[in-house]
């Protein structure tokens, strides 16, 4: 890819400050759009651009905006999901910390498009330093008249509040996020009604990811057609891929939608650390089904990955070399989901805990072959039986790790690996 778009300021010193951001063109597009365009123009451009929700779901952004009720007397809210928490993902942190004005400009144009006058950014609680940069950027924008009353001296007004979460993965689920933003426990809501109809404080609400809104100024500046051409026929633009695990050069890479996974690992990631063989890759955060080394020719976009039986998710790519123990990796996956289940639905609350107990026992050398089928039964009874997709996400690693590496699991159990070790030591010595 020739020119970086979303990441163009990531390595510019002090790009989080307004003076530097403006010298790089920040807010020019927002000023122009507010002065010369109608809200419908923005919505039409975003629809034409094939921009899809980059938080993980991949839902067409413009279509989502159109779900808002017409002739609605209540206020409309724009909520930005900056509750990045999907293991393997670190992309939104780069925007929040290094180029917050890019996102604020995106919020201004997006809020204008959906006729909202109040936006909230829900940022994960542990992101203290990114929060400080973002809050400072918001304060600077207010001072300059880029937020608040009569933006850029025009007629449109917008308030923006940055809200910190407090440590709960589930709050990345959009309705749990709304509950949390309303000052409650983050328990996902039943849908319908969808947030576009009944969202924050019972009002119509659009929830968009950080990176998604950051794309909007670029679409308005360069045109929808330009954005479409960057990506695949069904998925416009570029994407920030988070690359971690056993690669030589982990990092956040902005690349076109549809780039082959193999190219990301070997060209951009520099190949496998220590020149070892690749064993497996998780392509889209811990919730995505695992791919074997034979499956990495897949293209990285929502539709191709779905066709390959997994998902793009948050584009958090985790690479595992030949020495990686799959029992250990399943242990980490079930640990995560059992810790983060909100506890609202029984299949998830009980299922994630039960699965983790079995996998922990197995990992410590006390597993039986029958456990594998028990785990698959638990996974089947979680999938599709709860309010939100967390339980599905918890089931997928169980199904895919055992499904694709069953022989390794059986050998681990039969050879008595992990035996004669105390639990804590087992965690330290395997894999």
């Amino acid at each position: 890819m020739s020119e970086p778009i979303l990441s163009r300021n990531f390595n510019i010193p002090d790009a989080h400050k307004l003076s530097v951001a403006e010298s790089r063109g920040a807010y020019e597009t927002a000023k122009k759009v507010l002065a010369t365009s109608k809200p419908e123009d923005v919505i039409n451009a975003v629809i034409a651009s094939n921009l899809r929700g980059l938080g993980g779901a991949g839902f067409p952004t413009g279509k989502k905006w159109q779900f808002l009720p017409k002739d609605n007397p209540k206020p409309v809210y724009l909520v930005i999901n900056a509750d990045e928490g999907e293991p393997g993902t670190c992309k939104d942190r780069y925007i929040l910390e290094r180029d917050p004005h890019q996102m604020i400009e995106g919020i201004i144009i997006s809020a204008f498009a959906i006729k909202s006058h109040k936006a909230y950014v829900y940022i994960r609680g542990e992101y203290v330093e990114p929060y400080r940069n973002l809050q400072a950027a918001v304060d600077e924008a207010y001072k300059k008249g880029y937020l608040g009353k009569n933006l850029f001296g025009g007629t449109y007004s917008l308030d923006l509040v940055v809200h910190r979460g407090a440590g709960a993965y589930i709050c990345g689920e959009e309705t749990a996020l709304l509950e949390s933003l309303e000052g409650k426990r983050g328990l996902p809501r039943l849908k319908p009604p969808f947030p576009a109809i009944v969202g924050l404080f019972g009002c119509p609400t659009i929830i968009n990811n950080v990176e998604t809104v950051a794309c909007v100024p670029h679409i308005m500046k360069n045109g929808a057609e330009w954005f479409v051409k960057l990506g695949t026929p069904t998925c416009g633009g570029t994407h920030l891929f988070s690359l971690s695990g056993h690669v030589k050069k982990p990092g956040v890479y902005e690349l076109p939608m549809g780039i082959p996974l193999k190219e990301i690992i070997y060209n951009y990631g520099g190949g496998i650390k220590g020149d070892k063989q690749l064993k497996a890759v998780i392509p889209g955060g811990i919730s995505a089904k695992i791919l074997t080394a034979a499956e990495i020719d897949v293209k990285m976009d929502y539709d191709s990955l779905k066709a390959a039986g997994t998902m793009m998710g948050s584009a958090g790519i985790m690479v595992m070399d030949e020495n990686t123990c799959m029992v250990k990796m399943l242990y980490y996956a079930t640990k995560f989901f059992s810790h983060e289940s909100c506890g609202q639905c029984s299949p998830c609350r009980e299922g994630t805990g039960w699965a983790h107990k079995i996998v922990t026992r197995m990992y410590h050398g006390e597993g039986t072959l029958k456990d594998l089928d028990t785990l698959l039964t638990i996974a089947r009874n979680m999938e599709g039986r709860t309010i939100c997709v967390f339980a599905d996400a918890a089931a997928w690693p169980i199904q895919s790790y055992i499904g694709k590496f069953r022989a390794e699991f059986e050998a681990y159990i039969q050879n008595g690996k992990g035996k004669d070790l105390k639990p804590q030591e087992a965690v330290l010595q395997h894999g």
């Binding site: 928490g85 999907e86 393997g88 993902t89 000052g183 971690s244 982990p250």
Partner: protein
């Protein structure tokens, strides 16, 4: 002692509550503010948040127990969140965490005898590109080695 601190926070609390469309939405923010000053969430803090948000104190308590960042008992002067996510596991965090525990002489969820540090084994903190990592106070420390851990702890003494 809490009372005096909370009285000082009242001015700021009024501004915070005013930013939100509904008072109850300020719950998480007020809890963060008070915890930052006091070190953990006391019953007095829950009552203070309840007063400002006009929701029952039992509801505030429910929120406090749901989120991992609110300390239910006194934490160390510097709280350490050590990431135990998948990428950090691939990066071999176990050895470094074990070194840290030995050095501080505490386990997960404990506070050092001198009250300087507390340790929490955290789920993914989303700095996977720089695994293994930990958060010391507010700051993310990345690409950890045992030597780096020693230097970070020394700097906090």
């Amino acid at each position: 002692m809490n009372r005096a601190i909370l009285n000082q926070l009242d001015v700021e609390a009024e501004k915070v509550v005013a930013k939100y469309d509904q008072k109850k939405a300020a719950t998480l923010t007020l809890l963060h503010m008070a915890q930052d000053k006091v070190g953990y969430v006391t019953p007095e803090i829950e009552a203070w948040v309840s007063k400002w948000t006009e929701v029952p104190v039992v509801h505030v308590h429910e929120v406090v127990t749901f989120y991992s960042m609110y300390h239910k008992k006194p934490a160390g002067k510097t709280h350490i969140r050590f990431c135990t996510g998948t990428s950090c596991a691939l990066g071999g965090y176990e050895k470094i965490l074990s070194h840290l525990k030995k050095k501080l002489n505490i386990q997960n969820g404990e506070v050092t005898k001198d009250g300087k540090f507390s340790l929490e084994e955290a789920e993914c903190l989303c700095a996977c590109e720089c695994a293994p990592m930990m958060q010391v106070g507010d700051k993310y420390h990345m690409d950890l080695t045992e030597k780096k851990v020693d230097q970070i702890l020394d700097a906090h003494k």
